[in-house]
């Protein structure tokens, strides 16, 4: 708990979930590698160093006082553990250099990752345990888990995968199944570490594939993954980047308890469409507002989000629309939290409207 708040994040979530009084709405600027800036580390130092990753994420939580810690460096950890080649720039977020395989014939050579031995997974698990040990009583610590379809795209390359969806759907299912088996094993290890898996399936966005293709290649695998996690009594947050309006219902059908919505989608629309089924999380633009905007613009954007969705039947978590860029200014992250604190609870939406339309 930071000096500004009256409740710990865990207390706040529990009370909020029961409809009881809280000091403010939950707020999650999705801090990823920006945490390196808190402890004076370089982003590539996180590679193979669970202790540092935990230290940085805990320090960032303490610095800003937000409501969820997410152990995350990039979306490629599971694909890397299955053979994809990831490039680690010295001080920027890693990116995919080369998929694990290039043709359908090579699928047979792939094995689901072992989370305790392969790639960076053991180090991420170590970071999760350490963060839980340090602050797990007061704040939920989540472990980033990449969805099967997205991992499949990193295994064979995105363009190859999306062509195969139409030319050889069986091969895509084979890849998604392999990715799912790896994801299930990793999810189990994350849960065993005392953490909650937090799901991202970036490539399922309708910016890339159609709702029908999501239904065939994304949703079934996500559903099995979510079911597995919910069976261990953890509520799952599902994030899909970019446009998602046409698949919100299907995202809910996976069993996820919370949808994290990108700034390419609209919170008011999401509330109207699926707000009685899921909590919503979002959606201040990570690039245009959080990275490039001023604190005043951040505050205005927060007020707009709250105005749109504070009365969402299943609740709202004020958040960035996606992970924050590494160089997001601290004062903008502070501004997000401060704006939520100023708004307080219960929310008086009439004041908000004046504030952000002014």
């Amino acid at each position: 708990m930071t000096g500004y708040d009256l409740m710990t994040p865990v207390e706040r979530f529990v009370a909020y979930g029961r409809g009881e009084a809280v000091d403010r709405l939950p707020c999650v600027p999705i801090v990823g590698n920006t945490a390196a800036r808190i402890v004076g580390a370089r982003v590539s130092n996180f590679r193979g160093n669970g202790r540092l990753l935990a230290e940085a994420q805990v320090a960032a939580y303490r610095r800003f006082g937000y409501d969820v810690i997410r152990i995350f460096t990039d979306l490629y950890t599971q694909a890397e553990a299955m053979g994809a080649r990831v490039h680690y720039p010295d001080d920027e977020t890693a990116y995919l250099a080369e998929p694990a395989i290039h043709s359908v014939e090579d699928i047979a050579s792939l094995k689901p990752a072992n989370p305790h031995t392969d790639g960076n997974l053991p180090h991420h698990l170590e970071a999760m345990s350490r963060a839980v040990d340090a602050v797990g009583k007061e704040v939920v610590v989540t472990g980033a888990l990449t969805g099967p379809f997205t991992t499949a795209s990193f295994l064979i390359g995105t363009e190859t995968l999306v062509r195969l969806m139409l030319r050889n759907p069986a091969a895509v299912h084979l890849l998604c199944e392999l990715a799912l088996q790896g994801a299930l094993a990793y999810a189990k290890a994350i849960l065993d570490a005392g953490c909650t898996p937090s799901l991202t399936d970036a490539m399922c966005s309708t910016t890339v594939i159609s709702p029908k293709q999501f239904k065939e290649f994304g949703q079934p695998y996500l559903t099995r993954l979510v079911e597995f996690i919910q069976n261990r009594d953890r509520a799952v947050t599902l994030h899909i980047c970019g446009k998602t309006r046409a698949i919100w219902e299907q995202m809910c059908d996976t069993g996820a308890a919370c949808l994290s919505i990108d700034n390419a989608a609209d919170l008011a629309e999401a509330k109207a469409k699926v707000g009685d089924r899921v909590r919503l999380m979002g959606n201040v633009s990570p690039s245009e507002i959080m990275l490039q905007g001023t604190p005043a613009q951040v505050r205005a954007a927060v007020r707009q989000c709250v105005w749109k969705a504070h009365d969402n039947p299943k609740g709202l978590i004020v958040a960035s629309g996606c992970s924050l860029p590494v160089e997001t200014p601290f004062e903008n992250i502070d501004a997000m939290l401060d704006a939520v604190r100023e708004i307080g609870w219960p929310v008086h939406s009439d004041k908000l409207e004046e504030a952000w339309t002014a």
């Binding site: 720039p89 995919l96 250099a97 363009e159 999306v162 890339v208 980047c241 690039s287 990275l291 490039q292």
Partner: protein
């Protein structure tokens, strides 16, 4: 009964929209065998089909997978028809775009879509690929005598590299020679304005409209 010319162009266009590479190839070969003008077959067949595919993409009936397969069919036909273009059609000076993903980023699906749609709209494209240092955009644009430099990124970490391309053009007094356009997930109109780019588009079809505008081609 053999198709008349109009029917053949329509069938070519349909093969592209229908993502049917083999039929596009067969029809292109038939056009060549029958001595049908290659330029017309490309324009009224393949390019027309890709235009329709782009419209379906804009109306969200088609998504990236469909658009890629349409382009596979278009390129199959182009490979067959292009060698048969009349000299004046083949050597006609066309508006030229140098395109690539800036250094530090390897996400290139967005760039590839823009490239495909521009090519289908009759522009000359020099595709540098991904993870391209700023100076290479400048050098290539000069060497190719290009009209436009198109920069793409999905990552915020690499946005500064876009500004650097513009700056390098300025410091070498080349800024007036090329239009610079930018796009990709984290990019906005405000960012484009701030780095003094000449344009921003938020989708592949809009990138085509932007290039047409800059080229003075009726949309």
């Amino acid at each position: 009964m053999p198709l008349n010319e109009d029917e053949l162009f329509k069938a070519l266009s349909d093969a592209v929209v229908g993502m049917d590479e083999d039929t596009a190839g067969q029809l292109a070969t038939e056009a060549v065998d029958r001595g049908i003008d290659a330029y017309t077959a490309i324009e009224r067949g393949l390019v027309d089909g890709m235009g329709r595919a782009g419209e379906l993409f804009e109306s969200e009936e088609y998504f990236i997978p469909e658009l890629l397969l349409c382009s596979d069919a278009m390129y199959r036909g182009l490979d067959i028809l292009r060698p048969h273009l009349k000299v004046e059609d083949a050597s006609q000076r066309r508006f030229k775009v140098v395109i690539g993903v800036v250094e530090g980023d390897t996400h290139d699906i967005g760039k590839n879509l823009v490239k495909i749609m521009l090519e289908a709209s009759g522009f000359d494209i020099v595709d540098l690929g991904r993870d391209i240092p700023p100076q290479r955009f400048v050098d290539t644009a000069v060497a190719e005598n290009a009209d436009i430099i198109a920069l793409s990124t999905l990552m915020t970490t690499t946005m500064d590299a876009m500004a650097e391309v513009v700056e390098r053009l300025q410091t070498t007094n080349l800024r007036e020679r090329f239009k610079v356009i930018v796009g990709g997930g984290p990019i906005s109109k405000a960012f484009a304005d701030r780095i003094h780019a000449d344009g921003y588009a938020n989708s592949a079809p809009n990138a085509v409209k932007l290039v047409k505008l800059l080229a003075g081609v009726p949309a």
